[in-house]
Amino acid sequence: MINVSIRTDLYYVGNIYDLDKLIRILRETYGRRLQGYKYYGGKVTWGEINGISDLPLSVEDYVEPGLYRLREGYRFRHSSVSPKLFLLPSKQIYIVESNDFSQAKVLDYNVSIQYVLFGIKPCDLNAINVLDRMIGEKNPVYAHRRRSISAIIVEECLEPNNNCFCGVMNSGPFVEKDFDIAYARLDDKRVIFKYGSSFGRDVLSKLELRIAGEKEVYEYLEKTKLARERTSAVFKKSMKEIQESLMNKARDKELWLKISENCVGCGNCNFVCPTCFCLEFDYSINGEDQGVKIANWTGCLLYSYGQVAGGHFRPELYTRYRHFILHKFVFYPRQIERLGCVGCGRCITWCPMSIDLRECVNNAISG
């Protein structure tokens, strides 16, 4: 998993003020705009990053199923938002048409803006990969936004939180490809950087960082290894067995009823999931007598999912809950050849009923 022969020349060491420098260089030298987790008003939301004070550097999330607290610390993992908010906006006017269909307007894409995703997490990066394959070019809104991202800077997790299980889903807590720069906080001050592209290398060289010493690299690798292990010991069976078992048991109504017994169908898990992509089209007429098609987030846990005129394809909640799990673990692989869940644990954290996806999967495969 981790290469034992340590190559120290790939790593640089600095401190959190180098992050500020990094932000400034990206903004000023490269003229990029930065999007990322933003600390604002006691919460971590998503937004434009203008300087180090926007980053959640001195908070840490403590989570349990159905519980999230921000407290002082330096290990921020994630919040209920994710890059999905930027790539696939939660409500967006897609098209405006006149009533004789002679005119149509879509939102203006500002193609000249180059964004950098700053400080996203390894699971987020993987989630973007999932979305790329799942929606990619099909949805122009997504495609445009995706193209406007010129670089990705990842913050790796050396201490994942209680609900993280990216290890077993092979999507964290560190990154090996598809990024430009990645950094990790060795402690509250020291930051270790690595690059993943030539652009990343160029930018890093401008930071004038010190090349990492062997001890630091060793410390980093040791911590990543531990973190990977911690987030891997989750399921009772191998992924292949899980997938087979889930499919075999798909018709076991009693089992799924039991697994979904605490669910109230509020849909929070869908909305916080960085790979859930379903949209609801809403049609309306605006004040200028134009027909508007708006795309809103929706999700398979909502009653409206599968509801059709005069009937319902998934009237029972258990079928929708089952779809959520089957989709992430079985259908995504069949659709895009990779798992749909990146193990970020958001659905576990933000479920008001504290339902734990890991437990549900375990129950499903053993029950």
């Binding site: 098209i95 269909f101 879509v106 099909k138 609801e280 089209f281 999912y305 059709v308 089957l326 259908f331």
Partner: protein
């Protein structure tokens, strides 16, 4: 690289209603005139847009007719919800509707030349199969025996009643009808349309079946066809799922790992065998 524009994906074309036909209570057929080409095939569907109210996926109900610079297509709409009610109630000759499409994969008619074709349709399910009949009519020599098994709740609910005779007048075409309930004057079968499968007399290895109707009916049909010896990959079903965009971005039409709008709506039974028997998949 040029990214596709939302206009190309979501803009509706203007379609003028040129003819309406009352088919059954709450069901109407609309002939729509679009300017330019609209290359839609049997089994494919359009998103019909009643401006300001919403869109609904509706199957092609007749072969498209090209006239000079425009195309006339037909769609049969049953009023069941917000959009369809509005269309059925308000659209009349001269009305403007929006049309997006064509979408989806149709019936693989070209692949099935020189085969027998068994059509099993229930209720509104005849709409997507009518262009199949019309296609066969036009290309009668390419296909062998044809069966049309059609059932509805009552004879009055049947679509295209005015054409049934002409179907049976086609050489080598057998039309078997069925009504769920007994009605005075009805001389055909009473019961489910799937009961009619037993009257089909063909060599199954040279035969394909096209099935469309309510999901329960399709399941029974599949069982009976399999019992009769049909090969799994010779049975084709047109599925229905809740659908918003028609182009694979909204995700609400998923059926197992398929997107009904792009991977379907027509599937061979062998493709969906895994899922068809799971309640609510």
């Amino acid at each position: 690289m040029q990214v596709v524009n939302l206009i190309e994906v979501l803009k509706s074309k203007k379609a003028i209603v040129v003819r309406t036909i009352d088919e059954a209570p709450g069901v109407k057929t609309f002939a729509l005139k679009l300017s330019g080409e609209y290359d839609i095939k049997p089994g494919q569907f359009s998103m019909l847009y009643y401006w300001g109210i919403g869109e609904a996926p509706i199957s092609l109900a007749n072969l498209p007719l090209k006239t000079g610079s425009s195309t006339i297509i037909e769609h049969t709409v049953r009023s069941t919800g917000v959009v369809t009610n509005t269309i059925v109630e308000n659209a009349r000759i001269g009305s403007v509707l929006g049309v997006r499409g064509p979408y989806g994969k149709g019936w693989p008619l070209e692949k099935h030349e020189n085969m027998n074709i068994v059509i099993v349709a229930g209720g509104i399910g005849l709409a997507p199969l009518r262009p199949v009949i019309k296609y066969i009519e036009k290309n009668r020599e390419k296909y062998k025996d044809v069966y049309l098994l059609y059932g509805a709740r009552t004879p009055a609910d049947m679509l295209y009643k005015y054409e049934h005779e002409s179907y049976s007048r086609m050489p080598g075409v057998k039309v078997l009808l069925s009504s769920d309930v007994r009605v005075e004057g009805w001389s055909h079968h009473v019961g489910f349309v799937t009961d009619l499968v037993k009257y089909v007399d063909v060599r199954t290895e040279e035969t394909v079946a096209y099935v469309c109707g309510p999901e329960v009916m399709m399941r029974v049909a599949v069982k009976k066809l399999l019992d009769k010896g049909f090969r799994k990959d010779n049975i084709f079903l047109s599925l229905e799922r809740r659908m918003r965009c028609g182009v694979g971005i909204c995700g609400t039409c998923q059926f197992g790992h398929y997107f009904v709008c792009r991977d379907g709506p027509v599937f061979s039974y062998s493709e969906i065998e895994d899922y068809l028997w799971i309640e609510g998949v």
